[in-house]
């Protein structure tokens, strides 16, 4: 038995962290928050093979699993990186692999692996969205509206879930589409509202769309874990420098205990995330329950850490001078995406047969 990461997974994580540390500077985050332009950054991630992580080898990808994707998401969260990773590198290839036919896979997976196709996602039909989702299939076309499309910046396609099951894959340049970009609380992950009037679509209907949602929830949990661990590290570092009453504030028990609490909440989440991610690839009857629970748990832990790590920074945490709100808002937005913790826990109960 070996419960933990392999040497390859460690090396991959280190390489990705190295790249992100060099490229995702505070200036880069601020620029991305203003312009929503990700192109240069995405090219770098493409060179690292990120878009093809889950794409099978016969389609030009690395053929790795959800645990590897979760480690990438954790590193991206740690860096509060602006990226279309969730939709383009995880949900779209997964939807094609699980629900697409061989021709669709052949048509899209190599382009995804090469980073040429970037996919924004709208899963409101599955997540209990508080916004609008009136998408409907009309023959081979799709109509209706959806709010809260995730990662629309520089997307070439949209992956849209329908209430009757399955996904529509829609080209972003179709003329029957009206898109309204929205600035989000998390400036590094913009949103958009979409109206479709009989837009041409490809249909992915050969499997269970909920598995794609499960994977998305695991990815958001991973990102939140990374972002929260970074916030704790930043709080500890700041407390070690900031002096008051003639000593560093890190030597005050009130500050130490806040940091110890954050560490105690976060450290057990790592193994939970590894296990939940791994379970998505195996035929594991608990996979859905685990995906829902790991998202809900990290939503809760993330909120506490985001608050307390900001508090340790005092007034500096509240301002944008140190950039801490980038992490705070990533965690806050992730909590609401793809179903908040109450929704996830209710689905977890359902998945265990607890609801009569």
């Amino acid at each position: 038995m070996h419960f933990g990461l392999s040497e390859e997974q460690r090396l991959f994580g280190d390489a990705l962290r190295g790249f992100l540390a060099a490229r995702v500077t505070m200036e880069a985050r601020r620029a991305a928050a203003e312009s929503s332009s990700l192109a240069g950054f995405w090219n770098g991630l493409t060179e690292l093979g990120l878009p093809g992580l889950l794409v099978p080898e016969e389609h030009g990808g690395a053929g790795l699993g959800l645990l590897d994707a979760a480690l990438a998401a954790e590193a991206l969260g740690e860096a509060a990186a602006p990226t279309p990773f969730l939709g383009s590198a995880v949900l779209a290839p997964l939807a094609l692999c699980l629900l697409g036919d061989p021709a669709q896979q052949e048509a899209h997976l190599p382009a995804i692996a090469a980073g040429r196709v970037r996919v924004a996602v709208g899963l409101g039909a599955l997540t209990g969205t508080t916004g609008t989702c009136t998408l409907r299939r009309e023959g081979e076309r799709i109509s209706g509206s959806i709010t809260g499309l995730i990662e629309p910046a520089c997307a070439t396609h949209w992956l849209l879930a329908l209430r009757e099951g399955g996904f529509a894959l829609v080209a972003a340049d179709a003329p029957e589409v009206r898109i309204r970009p929205r600035r989000s609380l998390d400036r590094l992950r913009p949103l958009a509202d979409l109206d479709l009037a009989g837009a041409p679509a490809e249909w992915l209907t050969a499997g269970d769309a909920r598995r794609v949602l499960d994977a998305g929830r695991v990815m958001l949990a991973a990102e939140t874990l990374g972002a929260a661990r970074s916030m704790l590290d930043q709080a500890v570092a700041y407390a070690g420098q900031r002096r008051q009453f003639g000593r560093t504030i890190a030597s005050f028990q009130g500050v130490k205990h806040a940091c110890a609490d954050m560490a105690a909440w976060l450290e057990p989440c790592r193994a939970f995330l590894w296990y939940a991610a791994q379970a998505q690839d195996a035929p594991d009857p608990e996979a859905r329950m685990l995906a829902c629970q790991v998202k809900a748990h990290l939503d809760e832990v993330g909120r506490e850490v985001a608050r307390h790590a900001t508090e340790v920074h005092g007034g500096m945490g509240f301002t944008e001078l140190l950039g801490l709100p980038f992490w705070f808002k990533r965690i806050a937005a992730n909590r609401q995406l793809l179903g908040g913790p109450e929704r996830c826990r209710e689905e977890a109960a359902e998945a265990q047969g607890l609801i009569a």
Binding site: H257, R270, L290, V294, H297
Partner: protein, 412 residues
Amino acid sequence: MDLTLSERHRALQAALREFIARYGHLSPPVGGGGGRKRPDRKVLDWQALLIEHGFAARAVPRQYGGYGAEPDVLDAAIITEEFNKAGLSLGIQGQGIRMLVPTLLEVGTEEQRRRWIGPTIRGEVIWAQGYSEPEAGSDLASLRTHARVEDGHFVINGQKIWTSSAHFADMIFLLCRTEPDRPKHLGISYLLVPMTAPGIEVRPLPTMTGHATFNEVFFTEVRVPVDQIVLGRGEGWKVANVTLKHERMLLGDSAKLVHRLHRLRSLLAETVVEGEPLLQKPVWRDRLMRLQGEVLAAKYHQMRLLSEAAQGQAQGQAQGRDSGLGLLVVKYYGSTLAWRLAALAVDALGDAGLPYEPHDEVAEDDAATAWYADWMYDLGLIIGGGSSNIQKNIIAERGLGMPREPKINGSA
């Protein structure tokens, strides 16, 4: 991640299941918080059966009365999991077995091992732990119980407190100051003292659970031969830290949390209010689901630490390479969560759960009393063995590298 068990571990699992099917009905009851009285015949027989099959004292060498298996953290975890799943007793868990035996195995003399380990693991000799004092709790090294040497004997005077089991223990392992002129950590010795020695007085200390599990122990001119010491004079703090290292390697007990979550789920399913089980009411279900998320984190965290410890053991290390911070959070996280699980249970019991009628026998407690006893006893576990506030200091200082509180002038 490779979660498949080895051939040998699967065989152990199969042997356990066979043992449980055949002998499970002989187990004494579990739960209800705390060792309340001396092990009775049923407990002693169960203990003997466990040792014979290698499910207790597994890694204690045969010449000292144990089963004599190679130490293996996964073995221990598999045994714990199977017994917990079946709701069976893991045998005697007293401080003699958990703390003194591994300490003697590491630093005791051959004579001490031969004399004490066998009777201790069989439950014939019960030990109390003499550490805390009224003025030395979290700051244990400032303890004041002292012993002078006189005609080949230590002569002990002082007071210990929070001493579990002292009212029925045969022996006490005791930290006391023997070198008053040396710095506080270097002036302490670790002595083995019979509770029957003249000059020892035990006064029960009633606790909120209503069970007589705690005591004060007073020492007045108590004499023990000078060879009743583990390691040398002034080395008691070192011995105590050997003991603590073994306690830390127990890694907390997520199996207890998982088992308790199952009991809690059954309680919510069986408690019907106005025609509907609590489990079908969203408010209650959400509370259960939230706790489940926290238990799952504890469960997989323990698997990770076990796996790292097993690899460390293979490489001759005391713990896994990456386990530092992970190990430090276990006691704080686990004890707080256990208490919160019991807290949901007492809420579900509601006003009908208020009649509280504890017995000396755990098996005689009704369900509501047992939940309340767990809930209150677990608060004791949050406080004991390094309180949560001390745990948070340790996590911050050793795990996160934050500085210690500056010393106040005059304190050591």
